[in-house]
């Protein structure tokens, strides 16, 4: 069964929809030293000079004089065997849009890519007129060698030298430039003079139609596109085009010796560079026409050469400014930040179940204010790519930008074969009607189980690249509630029959979220960072951890309020006694106080910066600064804890924190009942506080928990989160950020709750501030000696 293949659908579609504007006749001629091709005699299929025979030129015969055309045609996705098949491309004439192209049906001729000003329109027209053998000749129409006359083409003798060779100044055979590729692949080129407009969109402009990509060195602000906010976009459409790269610099011939790079797998040990190369002459004779990074029409990568940003770029030295750079580059494809917006239009959906009078589907667009039928003048808003996950060649799964094109079509029969458009049209023609009615009519036409299929094809964004200054570099773009990584994309304003589309099976990427209708009936793709196995700080939060934390805080506040209220009421009823108390005691050593306050301040600052990191949208401070400060504070707390542990162990003070197993419960009960009743009656604390016994049993058990469970938990989870790009394997083993981060957040909530109780209970001393004062100066007033219970 053949499934619809969206590119070819769009090829047809856009041919029908878009007004074709007169082609630019400018072309790019390479520098003289790059044009080494000698003059040639143009031969017809019989090997005769066309100047003599007057027949159509045969690229096979002409170029085959020197180049191995058989090798080329069998190593090319751009042209089938013969390179000059008479049949026009099937998608240009098929009424069945999903008819896949047959590779040997693609008409391509050498001149289309190897002359500076190919006449593609003339070529397409010749194909359409079934003038197969003249197609290559038509392609030379702009060169001045041949002119169209009535029924055919006439060679101009003045364009040939005395030896019968076409003048090199006119033919100008050369390697392909972006201008050549632009003939079929989208708006591209190196022209600085003619401003880019969307009028340049044509039937084959697939990269622009399906992704919104434009590959041009011009500044967007100086282009001719009617774009919202254009004046502020003083950047080029694509930085590679700006920096003089041609398409072929990345999409090079896979056997071009210049680009040969041995894979690390086969490179002999210790050899950095193998200087041996295929001779240039051999390459020129048999240049592979499979190109790096090339994809076949059906989506699979053809070439053995992997092509990605990192084939040329090392992100490390240029991303030193970025905290957790490696973490970012491991989780995000370069294009996600460096192609944040495509300032163009792109197809959104194609509905083959809704055909117009001419049998054309309903097409919706992204990136334009309303409709895009006259895209040359329409107000363009630009397309923000959708975020999908992609498994890259190196095995990393990273989030990457895509344009999603959704299509719906009727299928029927046991095999769920796509139905011919004529069939669908006739079912639609018998009066408009609901999906069910159309289905009924299709059944009446003999189709079993007719139904609508919807599918989403993701088109990966690789062009339209901006340099760093224009890339996404604001942390909050992603680390926020409204994260770019989770921004919903409308797939279509409505779905025929409410059919929820699914991702095509051969998709380049994977959904990192869900497709579902929203309340307005629109089909929406909502990426979820968790689906991609990511926990994005500031954006993601685990609900139960937050709920638990908030509950802990609220109940603590409630408890404190009730307890404090009762204490206050009870104290009012008691007569104010004299502040009888015992002699002051040197309760806390200097080190203990330093340790305590360092911990207190650091933890409070950790909580503050932690809130910013956890909920960026509160906007407490700069996110990146919060992360860095939080990390430093974390290590301050860790160091403080290590020193304190040493101090307590070495001095034996650790004993104070260890509850006596014997009688512990009884004592704890006494302390608890003091807090629950005695304290209101003005009774003394049941356990006298002394330098050797500072903690009551409840404090002992609490601090045991805080210092031995909660603090280490926070430190360990914190260090692991800090080290997520240093030891990704360790973190991964322990559940990754998706587990560690919520755990750390929960710990923080509990710390905050403890802090509240802790501060409240310091007010239960002889005077409300006595304990705090003691922790500051070291000296503490003891309660009045036993018997004198008048102390507050």
């Amino acid at each position: 069964m053949r499934r619809p293949s969206s590119p070819w659908i769009l090829g047809l579609l856009s041919a029908l929809l878009l007004v074709l504007v007169a082609p630019r006749t400018t072309g790019a001629q390479l520098p003289p030293e790059a044009r080494i091709h000698p003059p040639v005699v143009l031969l017809d299929t019989l090997g005769q000079n066309v100047l003599v025979s007057g027949g159509p030129v045969s690229p096979l015969a002409t170029c085959g004089e020197c180049h191995d055309v058989e090798y080329i045609s069998t190593h090319s996705q751009h042209g089938g065997p013969g390179l000059e098949a008479a049949a026009p491309p099937p998608w240009a004439v098929s009424s069945r849009p999903w008819t896949p192209p047959t590779p040997d049906g693609v008409e391509m001729n050498c001149f289309l890519c190897h002359t500076p000003r190919p006449a593609n329109e003339a070529r397409v027209a010749a194909l359409g007129a079934d003038l197969g053998s003249w197609v290559a000749t038509a392609t030379l129409e702009n060169s001045g060698i041949v002119t169209r006359e009535n029924e055919g083409w006439v060679w101009d003798p003045s364009a040939f030298d005395a030896r019968g060779q076409a003048l090199d100044t006119l033919l100008a055979l050369q390697g392909p430039t972006s201008h050549n590729c632009a003939q079929c692949h989208g708006i591209a080129g190196d022209d600085m003079e003619v401003p880019v407009t969307l009028a340049g969109l044509r039937s084959g402009s697939l990269l622009t139609l399906t992704r919104g990509e434009i590959f041009s060195p011009q500044k967007i602000s100086e282009s001719g596109v009617n774009l919202v906010g254009k004046e502020s976009l003083a950047r080029s459409w694509d930085v590679h085009a700006e920096r003089l790269l041609e398409c072929s610099n990345c999409h090079f011939s896979v056997n071009n010796p210049i680009y040969r790079k041995e894979s690390e797998a086969t490179q002999p040990l210790g050899l950095k560079f193998d200087s041996r190369r295929m001779p240039l002459g051999a390459y020129l004779q048999r240049p592979s026409h499979n190109f790096a990074g090339e994809t076949a029409p059906m989506g699979q990568t053809l070439s053995a050469e992997a092509l990605g940003c990192e084939s040329c770029h090392d992100p490390e030295p240029t991303h030193e400014w970025l905290p957790y750079a490696k973490r970012h580059t491991d989780a995000l494809a370069c294009e996600l930040c460096h192609s944040p917006m495509l300032y163009s239009v792109a197809v959104e959906s194609v509905d083959w179940t809704s055909l117009n009078d001419r049998g054309e589907p309903t097409v919706t667009w992204r990136g334009c204010a309303a409709g895009c039928e006259t895209a040359a003048t329409d107000l363009v808003r630009g397309v923000e790519p959708a975020v999908l996950a992609r498994v890259d060649q190196d095995g990393r799964t990273r989030l990457a930008p895509y344009n999603l094109v959704t299509s719906w079509y009727w299928v029927g029969g046991a095999e769920a074969e796509p139905l011919g458009l004529d069939l669908v049209a006739s079912a639609l023609e018998r009066g408009s009607g609901s999906v069910d009615e159309v289905a009924g009519r299709l059944e009446a036409l003999g189709i079993e189980e007719p139904k609508i299929i919807g599918e989403v094809k993701p088109y990966p964004v690789h062009h339209g690249i901006a340099e760093g200054q224009w890339a996404t570099r604001d942390c909050q773009s992603c680390h926020d509630q409204d994260s770019r990584l989770a921004r919903s994309v409308v797939l279509a304003d409505s779905a025929p029959g409410g059919v929820i589309p699914t991702l095509v099976s051969d998709a380049d990427g994977m959904l990192a979220g869900v497709i579902e209708p929203d309340e307005d009936g629109r089909m929406v793709y909502s990426p979820r960072t968790a689906s991609a196995g990511l926990y994005v700080l500031g954006h993601d939060a685990v609900r139960w951890a937050n709920l638990l934390g908030i509950l802990a805080i609220l109940s603590t506040l409630l408890g404190v309020a009730v307890h404090g209220g009762i204490r206050w009421m009870a104290a009012r009823k008691r007569p104010i006694g004299d502040h009888a108390h015992g002699p002051p005691v040197y309760m806390y050593t200097t080190y203990e106080r330093v340790w305590h306050w360092l911990q207190a301040l650091a933890i409070m600052m950790l909580l503050f910066t932690g809130i910013e990191i956890h909920a960026t949208s509160l906007g407490l401070m700069d996110f990146a600064l919060a992360v860095r400060v939080h990390n430093i504070l974390g290590f301050v707390v860790l160091a403080n804890a290590v020193f304190a542990a040493f101090y307590h162990l070495a001095s034996g003070e650790i004993k104070q924190y260890l509850p006596e197993p014997r009688g512990f419960f009884g004592q704890a009960f006494i302390q608890a009942s003091f807090y629950l009743s005695g304290i209101f009656k003005g009774e003394s604390h049941p356990f006298e506080k002394s330098p050797a016994q500072k903690l009551n049993p409840l404090q002992q058990i609490t601090y045991l928990g805080i210092l031995n469970v909660l603090l280490p938990l926070q430190i360990i989870t914190g260090v692991l989160i800090w080290g997520v790009q240093r030891w990704p394997a360790v973190d991964g083993y322990l559940g990754g950020l998706t587990f560690l981060a919520p755990l750390h957040a929960l710990g923080a909530w509990l710390f905050a709750a403890f802090l509240l109780i802790h501060v409240y209970l310091t007010t239960t001393g002889p005077t409300p501030t006595a304990n705090i004062r003691a922790m500051v100066v070291g000296w503490e007033a003891t309660e009045a000696p036993e018997g004198s219970s008048e102390a507050l």
Partner: protein, 523 residues
Amino acid sequence: MRELNPETRTGTIMSDKIHPLSGEETPVGRTPGWKALALIVGVAIFLPMYALLSGGEEVLDDPWAFVGERAPVTDHSGLMPGPYQTGEDVTRACLDCHEGEGHELLQTSHWRWEGEPVQLPGRPEPVSMGKKNVINNFCISVQSNWSGCTSCHVGYGWVDDDFDFGNTEKVDCLVCHDQSGQYAKGSGGYPGPEVDLAAAAQSVATPTRDNCGGCHFRGGGGDAVKHGDLDESLSNPTARVDVHMGTHGLICVDCHTTEDHAMKGRALSVSVDNKNEVQCTDCHLAEPHEDTRLNSHVSAVACESCHIPQVAIREATKTHWDWSAAGQDLPEDAHEYLKKKGRFEYEAGLVPEYFWFNGRGDRYLLGDTIDPSIATELNPPLGDIRDPEAKIWPFKVHRATQIYDTRYKTLMVPQTVGEGAYWDVFDWDQALRMGAQASGLPYSGSYDFANTVMYWPLSHMVQPAENALQCRDCHTPQGRLDWQALGYPGDPGGWGSRDLRSISNGTVADGAPASGQDRGGVR
């Protein structure tokens, strides 16, 4: 810090440590107080933060740090009551308080119109030159035309060769310091009759762009004529015209700073050495780009080459002047033809031409012989690809056809201003005789016209990065630069930059030997 042993802390409390808490704020003597505590804790937290957060920061490009503060302005309205009959009256009043300034000014090139002696290539001894005695290819020469030309001299009464350059009372303070807006100089540099001198004297302050522009925007006889990068659009420039003056509101003297009234800055037309230049790097880093590829340009390309992609942005500037066509009764148009001056060509949005330039120039001097069959370069910039100090610079090139003596093969000084002079009677022969008398050049009686060229290095109308040149403006076959004419074997984008080591051996790079003959850098 005092440490207690556990024993002493448990039971008995030593009396000297007992602290009566009641009503006392002061903590116990020998244990650290809250201030010390706060200090320790604060240091423990903020020291690592300071150390880690501030580390690794690069040197920031902060050009403002190098822009001096403007001198405070004293209100002179009460100090200069007037009335003043002449400009010299005002100057005397100025010198009453500013005693030394008059003598300072006498040393400046604004006054002397002559620089320090400079050794020119191929000449036996250093030559003093300046506006006073050089020839250009606009109005040709000051000599014999003093009264017309010296309306831009910072003095009063330079009408002939006998002007007293030692008289401080002849200094025109107002032309630079007037802010009343109505001060204007006429013939001989005297203020015009309509000028209210008291109002001008009371308004004095730091020179603004209009003060400088009064002469420098109008060089060559009218707005935008001479420089191309200096015209009246810089009076109130928009951001599009100049980033310094438009976007950031700088005035001329922010960069052209003075010391004892001596201005910083050089103009190749009259100053051919490279002392006292204003440089971009006075304020900007030498390698200011984030992009290392861009920074790799700065050793061979002047900042101006990319950041001044075009000049004459708002007003067309004169690019050709054909004196030989003067004197005819043709329809007049200030931008095309004037009977007095001949035929012109102007260009707006002028794209510069690019040459190697090390800051110094050669100079055509009065009396030098020319080859009339080729264009004579009056002020050729020095430097070529082999010169490590030379960079590729943008120039406005002014091409002219001007009068010369066919027998002596010297460019001549015609008197144009005055009775019987060319602009009076349109008789070249008479104008040359009068001019020869003033300049001392011999005149054979036969004359013709020859082509001359002047080079104007560009340094204003600077554009920010977003408007600067891009790769493609130079590094394509259609680009602005003719690499081979500049001495490269080909586009250094592919061929690599000039290799000064191999240049010293006579070759430029892996290619052709450097010719160094042609100046050309432009297609």
